[in-house]
Amino acid sequence: MRHIRCHVLIGVDANSLLAGAKAVEQALIKELADKGLADEVQVIETGSLGPIGQGVILVVYPDAVAYANVTVDDVPEIVTEHLLKGRPVKRLQVPLAPEERVVEIKPTGLVKKPQPRVVLQNCGVIDPESLEEAIAAGDYQALVKVIEEGMSPKDVMEEVTKSGLRGRGGAGFPTGKKWSFTAPGPQKYLICNADEGEPGTFKDRLILEGDPHRLIESMILAGYAIGATKGYIYIRGEYTLSIARISKAIEQAYRENLLGDNILDSGITFHLEIKKGAGAYVCGEETALIESIEGKRGQPRLKPPFPAVQGLWGKPTVVNNVETLSNIPPIILNGADWYRSFGTPTCPGTKVYTILGHIETPGLIEVEMGTTLRDIIFEYGGGIRKGKKFKGALVGGAAGAFLNESQLDVQMDYDSLKEYAAVLGSGAILVMDEETSVVSLLHSILSFFEHESCGQCTPCRMGTRSLLTIMERIVRGQGTEKDLDLLLQVSENMQVSSLCPLGQSPILPIKSALDYFRDEFLERVSGKWTEPPLQAHEEASQVG
């Protein structure tokens, strides 16, 4: 008889796959079978366990022992020593902090400090390919509540409005308000924007890979609130694992009548389809995304009319980000007041960040809105790698802004960051140590914009090209101080005249880089600058 006494969670995401997660998993399963433990120890593939850059990570329950950088060669030792004899392999062990979970307190996640997990509640805890585990962990409870308590679409919308949830895609627009703008009509659409293209951002990918049923549930609820019976998930073509997992989850949900006509005999109808992107950063802009779903070049539309009035196929459409949507089930289940107990009065809730760069524990974290940048970097991220000094951080991806040491105590929420002309954006935080060159980082950002400009409107098409030309001059040490002003001038013109955020954004990294790290640029254009030996940049940033 099969009696499972022990579970081994293996974090499978794109990063650990590169580190050989699949091979480790197979070796583990084989080794367990060889040792006759197959009926006692179950291997569960789960989403990202949080940190990245630490190779393949295993967590053994109920012992709550975590291993990092596991290779195939380590498997026999782990199986014999730990799973058979009960002695954890100290050599590979990494500390596992108890984490405050919303529903129950259970040690999970390799984090330096407990995180309040609302969105990532089940990520790295359940097997994302199992509907049963998702349900046991609380997915679809909010849907059942709506049905059992007879909540009307208006009730759902009001609860979300009251919760103060704001769009997590970058702009921070109140979600309830966005929904309420949806024009009346017999056919409306709900689109989930999973076209996560901001450099250094992969939070949505890990949500999709870690808990796909949560997203499906949230889309049913959102669709119900706005009166849409058809939803699309527009997902980056590069995200093959996310696509596979969400496809499987959709299939399971249809089978159990959690999707389709008359869901669970409630009278609610909702259909869900995946639309795969094909590699275009601009498609993250909602109207470009709509164009792409319609099978066209992903070029942004002129607004107004806004999608809420004329969106997909000319019908009223709401486009919400993955993380935004994933907040909805807990809001419905626990109420707006509960949700407001997290975060700040104007920005309630939590925020998921990907912290990268020169940091001890790079990876995925979820913290309350309004947490300071200092806490995120030094408490949750474990501080700067190799004991080096903090120089600055790029917050919000390529379309974000630089912050320096004097702004470490800024509260990370939409309103507080605005005061520093910064944005929360996609939630990417790229941490730079004292040796990082802001000049080359900005160069990399500007070449990204130049490559991704869709070419539709002139200010962006020409502007991104001129910015790159000027920047290349500066990087080579052939620029002048005037070039610095020129960067600002061009990006200012682009900000006021471009059609969509792609052309409006370069001003953010440019202005903040010049404001806070001007000396570095002045040195580069002084005429005395020469290329340093390569070793000086041994571990340059991960953006670009």
């Binding site: 992107g277 340059a540 991960q542 953006v543």
Partner: protein
Amino acid sequence: MVKLPDTPEHNRVKEFVSQFRGDKGSLIKALHFSQGVFGYLPPEIIEYIAQELEIPASHVYGVVSFYNFFRTEPMGEYEIRVCLGTACHVKGSKEVLETLCRKLGIKIGGTTKDGKFTVSTVRCVGACPLAPVMVIGKEVYGRLSPQKAWNIVRGYYEEERT
């Protein structure tokens, strides 16, 4: 009227596309599928899809050229993706790329005459501590020099011979 030859590959495309006759919204889906079959999008496939979905072929070409993912040239058996991200850039990935292109006698994006390799570039594979990095198929090779990179590529030929 475009008629596709009667090969297993072409028939798979025909079968898939026939589900979406006249459905303009399925263009990208149809292109994804066809590229999955052929590895690229040959002209007759593009024109066939245009005809079946009732979209002008010029429009389909416009979509194909807009998205990074779609290609109109055949791919080699192995794709060599050289990372040009910031970290790799400062560690000399450009020299690696130039050497590979020169030795293989192709330009970036090109494919060797024997159909073995396609060389392309990638912005960042997230393996910055290993810079400079290239990816062949699913294998990541790090800490490259131009010579080391070429030895690895040559190894693929030798592997075949043995």
